[in-house]
């Protein structure tokens, strides 16, 4: 009970931070929107032909990829804000208070969920505006939201831990960088079948690919099948690992 109310209080703190410095949220929503426009309008013609369609077909292909890039780039923001928080005296104060200990981190994770929700909504609206016409039913959309929330939750716990690995904010900001590359080294931008052998194997077996494939299927109004199970398993494993790691680093 205490953990829930204290986490809610810490979430309010994070939302106030966002509210006070809206430029951050503009960046986290704006960069993926620009990426989406670049991919669709600059690369879309050639990429569309590459996947056997046109620009609109590529817009449909890239949208789930950009959604996941949004989560990956927000992970960097979470790592930075956790790292900055740890250098402030306020966290030492929290640790000397009789509150639910993990609530400081839960506040960050829940705050990141809100931030990602805003950014991904911006990406989706832009995609719809430039001609993306998903065939998803209302139930599919619920599935999309669920998968996004699940994966954001997992990546954010991991990035919270990354934010505490070093005491240095600059280092903390670099640690989640590889996450930004994973959508490219998966099915985010082009189909893995087009990649050379070892890279293709990696792309097909890394955690981002089943998540992107699930989103792609749901948005197309098709059953996600085994990729959903893989996405759920990966998310659960990353979330649990990230949570336990973050908690250990926080309590050290």
């Amino acid at each position: 009970m205490r953990a829930i109310t204290d986490s809610a209080t810490m979430l309010r703190r994070q939302i106030r931070h966002m509210w006070r410095y809206p430029t951050l949220i503009l960046t986290y929503a704006g960069v993926p929107v620009v990426l989406l426009l670049l991919f669709v309008y600059v690369l879309g013609g050639i990429m569309g032909a590459g996947i056997g369609g046109d620009r609109a077909a590529y817009a449909a292909y890239i949208t789930p990829g950009i959604m996941i890039m949004t989560i990956a780039s927000a992970a960097q923001g979470t790592a930075i804000s956790v790292a900055m928080d740890m250098t402030e005296g306020i966290v030492a104060r929290f640790k000397t208070m009789a509150i639910a200990r993990v609530s400081v981190l839960t506040g960050h994770v829940l705050g990141a969920l809100v931030q990602n929700f805003i950014a991904i909504t911006a990406v989706t609206l832009t995609a719809l505006l430039i001609g993306f016409r998903p065939a998803a039913s209302a139930l599919d959309w619920l599935g999309v939201i669920g998968v996004l929330a699940m994966f954001t939750f997992a990546i954010t716990w991991l990035s919270a831990a990354l934010g505490m690995v070093t005491k240095n904010v600059a280092t903390a900001s670099n640690l989640p960088m590889p996450l930004m590359l994973l959508p490219f080294l998966g099915s985010g931008v082009v189909p893995p079948e087009s990649m050379p052998g070892p890279l293709r194997w990696f792309a097909e077996h890394q955690p981002f690919t089943p998540v992107i494939e699930t989103l792609r299927a749901l948005l197309a109004g098709q059953p996600a099948g085994s990729s959903f199970a893989a996405a759920a398993l990966w998310s659960a494993a990353i979330a649990l690992g990230g949570y336990l790691w973050a908690r250990r680093l926080y309590n050290r």
Partner: protein, 311 residues
Amino acid sequence: MTATRAFVSVTGLRKSYGAHRVLDGIDLTIPQGTVFSLLGPNGAGKTTTVQILSTLTKADAGEIWVAGHDLAKEPDKVRATIGVTGQFSAVDSFLTGEENLRLMADLLHLGRAEGRRRVRELLERFDLTDAARKPAVTYSGGMRRRLDLAMTLVGTPKLIFLDEPTTGLDPRSRRTMWQIVRDLVQQDGVTIFLTTQYLEEADELADRIALLSQGRLVAEGTPEKLKRMVPGGHIVVRFADPDGYLRAASHLRATSRDEESLTVQIPDTGVSTLRKLLEWLDAQAIDVAELSVHTPDLDDVFLALTEESSR
């Protein structure tokens, strides 16, 4: 045993970071409603002591009781009775003063109405009402420190750790802080654990002082008792003209001299020193503008005792 109940008692406290021994067997007892000051140079282990007593860091060895609770077994019970205001201000810079206090009230589950009342009262008490709606990042050093302490007080703690509360403050803010600390003890009956590098501060505020040097307590007692521990103070003579200053300076065994202000400081070993000095000045017909005798202050104690133990 003292008549007053020990609010904090520490025995055999030890802490090392790797091979570096920071605290090497500390024992202390603090009665309720008093100000205890831990004094020591940088790196003596003051902050580590506060971090251990405030449950931030685990001790390697030793027994610690705070407000009747064993710190090792019931850290949350201890956390519920203490408040900490450190040398690095523990405020959320992005939030306003009012929001910072509200955050504390919410975390302490004070309830909406009670929380509001407490926040308003503390803003008033610490002269922060006008700045209540400005982000803490815009506050001056003194305001930040006051907000910091106000946040500590939201939960009405019975024991407050003040870790170098006036380091980096201007003299005026420092005096304000001192008055706040006195009020806390007199009006609220709070027990204070104060660490400081300023001997003047300990002398002003503390009922008892412990001197920490290289992880050990080298002296403990009332400020008066500590001052009696070092023999003699010093005599300061200011001369009327440069000629007198030069003649005296070359003759007297001065511990320090200042050509600019024509003053010389001589160690005072008793009445005979003073008599000999006056006789000599008289015989030499040197004009003295001012002469004063200083009893030992905590600075003398501090230097004498910490020097001894570092040898």
